[in-house]
Structure formats: C-alpha cells, structure tokens
C-alpha cells in the first residue's frame, strides 16, 4: 500500500526541515497481518496514518470503530498487541509511542474477527437500543447452562490484548540510582533545566518517555533564534552528551517516569531495545527499571490536550489539534484531506495553519469564542481559511458503519454558551 497521506518530499521540503524522519530508509512492518511500509523515525501510528489506515481498534463494549486520536502516551484507541513470536508477545502497546522497526508485527487488541469487520460492532449497531448504557457482557450469562457455549465467543469479541503463553526469554534489570537533580521530561523546559544543572556541576538524570529529546518542540515549526527547533535541540543534546561522557549526567530516552514516591523516590521504566527489535540480543537488557533517589526533582512534563465533547467524537478521524500538528511537522503525515478545527483557544489555529501549509484544505476553524483579532487568527484569515466564531461542532457524522468522519454538524451558540441554534453541515475527513 502506498503512503497516501505522506507529505511529498519535493514539496517545500524547507518547511519540514524540523521533521525527524528519514525518507531514505524505508521500513516494512505488518499490521493485522497486512504488510505496510513506513520510514525510519515513524511510530506505528504515524506509519498507519501515512498509509491511510482509519480504524485501529474497537471500543471495549460496543465495538465502535476507533481511530488514532493523539500522537503520544495519552492515546486511548491505538492500543496494539506486539510480538513476532509467542515468547515476545507484548499486549497493549500504544501505537503512538512504539517506533517501527524492520519486520515488526502488530495486531489490534480488540476487534475480533477483524478490525474492519467486527462482530460486536454490528451487534452494537443492530441492537443498540436494547443495550442500556453500562450494559455488560455478563448480561449473556443467563441461562447459566448456555454460558459455557457463548463465553468463548464473547470473550473473544471483547477484551484488550492477551498475555504470552510462553516464557519471556529477554533480560530485565533493576538499578538503584542517586542524583542531585532528576528532571522529568525533556522538552524545552527539561532540556534547559538539564543544561543549567549540569553546568553547575550537579549530578543529573534526564528522563523522557518519547523516542527523542525535544518534547513539544519536535511537533512545532516555530523558530528559536531564527533557526528551526531541531538545530536548538541538537545543540543542547550535544552539550548534554558531553556531560554524560564525563559521568555526571544520565540521559534516558524511551523512559517513562511512572512513580513519584515519598522523599523524592522516583521510579523510571526504560525501554532499551523495544524500539529496535522484537527480541533483545544475547546478554542485552531489554528493559530497565531505575529506582532513583533524588535530592531535587524538576517536573517538566508539559501538558496534554483535552478532547472536546460532541456527539460521535470517537469516530475515526476525530483527533486532537496538537496531534495533527505533530503528525504534520514531525512525521510529515497529513491524516486526511479536508480538516475542520473546533477550538476554544488559539492553539487550534496552529493546527489549521500547519494543515494548510502541508497542502491540504482546511474547511473551517470553528471557534467557541466571540470574534477576536489575535495574531494567529489574523494569520489564519490571511491564508483564506474561514473562521466561524461563537459556534461549536455538535456532532460528527459518518457515511457507513465502519467509515471515518465525513461531515461535521456546526451550530452557533448564544452568549452564555448554553443553547445552540441553526445547523450547518461541513464536509470534512478529519476533525
């Protein structure tokens, strides 16, 4: 399958100087038994989006089709089963965090018999009005003597992931660490903090859950000192690596700080080889658990975007605005053709500008606020993008059962934001 959603290389490549992927190195992987091609630096999510894959999973109960929503660890839908053989099965890996490597095999964790054709999805659609919210599969337990027959089908139709039934052959390790300063998150703030602390001679640990240092800078095409963010990140990381070679600093990528306990005791889960291969080499550690006692802790974790609420906002094609910017700027992937942005602040405008600059159409920016003239909204207007003020998307619609968003229903709001009036329909593919 071709990477239909990839920004073509020849097209204004200078705009993507900050991109972190390498087109010269194609990587082949399989998703639900089908072969796809991505490039070096892609996560599973960005590669699937590049290949135009909409549905990556099914909702837990009703089997509604679900697409990729975010570009980070907050991903609720793209949760996959990884592993090329029984011993290396890893359930519930977020496609937005896992880098692809040659020969990677992954499957949707939910959605038997297949993600596109789903038993519960059809069931849920047919019998939706008989299934109260909060309905549970145990409803099927009566009559009890039948349960043993349909349990295996229902269990198969539900659930997330499965554990391997063979022993894991990889090596895992636990290390006790001590530091003057532990910095959680390596975005602009975290990198600056690490630099400052290292220059003062402190013993520093810098941990970041992403596959590269840079945090939100990786998703942005803003300029730092008239140069792209990548240059700034590379310069800072180069200096930090110098400190690391002196044994004063520990840089941890692919490392999630997963606990902040009493008296500055923190635990870090580092994935050493998961992004490179299915199984670690002989005597190589696959994952490492760091138990850190720090004198000081700096939380530079950044912020997560909260999804907006409207009917059918779980349809494939509804994404976070920040995720759209990330896929465009970092992975050169535009997840769709036509975009409608709904926003309550200026950050939604950035997604619209990125989308437009990537060469695809922005149908409109729907802003819940009253008309205003911020710098970003002026930029958006200058690009010829419609802004609909004091309005909200109230519903996303689809054409067929398994298809992605095809239109958005927009209504204008009264001054308090309590009531809506008037209906307008906009065609879009991504929301």
């Amino acid at each position: 399958m071709k990477q239909i959603n990839r920004v073509r290389q020849n097209r204004s490549s200078k705009d993507f100087a900050c991109s972190r992927i390498d087109f010269s190195q194609p990587i082949h992987f399989s998703f639900n038994g089908k072969e796809y091609t991505g490039v070096l630096g892609d996560t599973i999510a960005s590669a699937l989006l590049a290949n135009g894959i909409d549905v990556v999973g099914r909702s837990f109960k009703y089997g509604r089709p679900r697409g990729i929503v975010t570009a980070g660890s907050d991903e609720p839908n793209a949760i996959l089963q990884l592993g090329n053989c029984e011993a290396t099965q890893v359930p519930n890996v977020r496609a937005t965090q896992q880098l692809i490597f040659e020969g990677l095999e992954c499957h949707s964790t939910s959605g038997w018999p297949s993600t596109r054709f789903h038993l519960m999805g059809i069931f849920g659609a047919l019998f939706a009005r008989f299934l109260p919210p909060g309905f549970y599969y145990k409803t099927f337990m009566a009559p009890a003597k039948w349960w043993k027959y349909y349990e295996k089908w229902i269990r198969k139709g539900a659930g997330l992931g499965r554990s391997p039934n063979r022993a894991d052959e990889d090596i895992y390790e636990v290390i006790n660490q001590h530091a003057d300063v532990l910095i959680v998150g390596a975005g602009a703030a975290g990198l600056s903090a690490a630099l400052g602390a290292s220059r003062m001679g402190a013993r520093v640990i810098l941990a970041d859950e992403q596959n590269e240092f840079g945090g939100s800078l990786l998703s942005s095409n803003i300029k730092i000192n008239d140069r792209c963010t990548r240059d700034w990140i590379d310069a800072v990381v180069a200096e930090l690596i110098n400190y690391e070679s002196q044994g004063q600093l520990l840089l941890l990528k692919h490392a999630t700080v997963n606990g902040y306990h009493d008296h500055n005791f923190l635990t870090i889960h580092e994935r050493c080889t998961d992004h490179l291969k299915d199984k670690a080499a002989q005597n190589e550690v696959r994952q490492r658990y760091h138990r850190v006692r720090a004198k000081q802790v700096i939380l530079a974790t950044g912020a997560l975007e909260r999804p907006l609420v409207f009917a059918n906002n779980d349809l494939p094609g509804c994404m976070l605005a920040s995720a759209i910017s990330t896929y465009i700027n970092r992975y050169q992937v535009i997840p769709g053709n036509t975009l409608v942005v709904m926003t309550a602040n200026d950050s939604g405008y950035i997604a619209a500008i990125d989308w437009h600059n990537a060469g695809r159409r922005v149908a409109a920016v729907v802003d819940t606020r009253k008309s205003h003239a911020s710098e970003l909204s002026k930029q958006v207007k200058a690009l010829g993008i419609t802004i609909i003020y004091q309005s909200a998307v109230i519903e996303a619609r689809r054409k067929r059962l398994n298809s992605r968003v095809c239109s958005a229903v927009i209504m204008s709001m009264d001054s308090t934001g309590d009531a809506v009036k008037g209906v307008k329909k906009l065609f879009c593919v991504t929301l």
Partner: protein
Amino acid sequence: MFLIHCPICNEPRSEDEFHCAGEGHIQRPLDPMATSDKEWGDYLFFRSNPRGTYRELWQHTIGCRKYFYIKRNTETYQIYKTYKLDDKSERVALDKEHSNKNKFGDLL
C-alpha cells in the same frame, strides 16, 4: 519510600533497610503483677495513632540492627528527626504534650 537517617550509622538509608516496631516511648509498667487488667491491656494493645506528629520505634534491620526513634508526621510523611534511645529530650517533650492534653482535653 522513605529516606531515613539512621542516627547510629549516621547515614541516610532507604526505607527497605528498616523495620518499624510501632509507637515509641511506651513504658512497660514497673511491676506488672501490681497493674490492673486495664492498665496492662493499655500497655499491650492501645496506641495513640494520631494524625500529625508521631514518635515511632524503628530498627535498622539490614544495617546496624540497632533500634532508634523517628519523630515524623503521619499526614505529610515529613521526618522531623531521628534520635537514639538514650535521647531524653523527646521524652520530656512528650510528657509535656500529655499533661497539656489532660489539662485542655482534645483542644490541642
């Protein structure tokens, strides 16, 4: 996990080297045979379990194996100090708190 300064080793060590032995400064009745059942029951089983400042007996089980006291806050987990068994200053402070409590009831 706590970071506990052992007053005997004179070093901060991780909590998993220690073992908590319950409330500190509990005095065994000098003549057990002369105490009433209530007094003996209080001594054996009843602990103050406050929300706030608490003095506990701890043992550095996989270190020096010595017992010592910790004065800490059960709400914030802050450790105010650790001190040796022969340190009488906290005993005095504790007696003062008790007598104030008797005087003013639960106001304090």
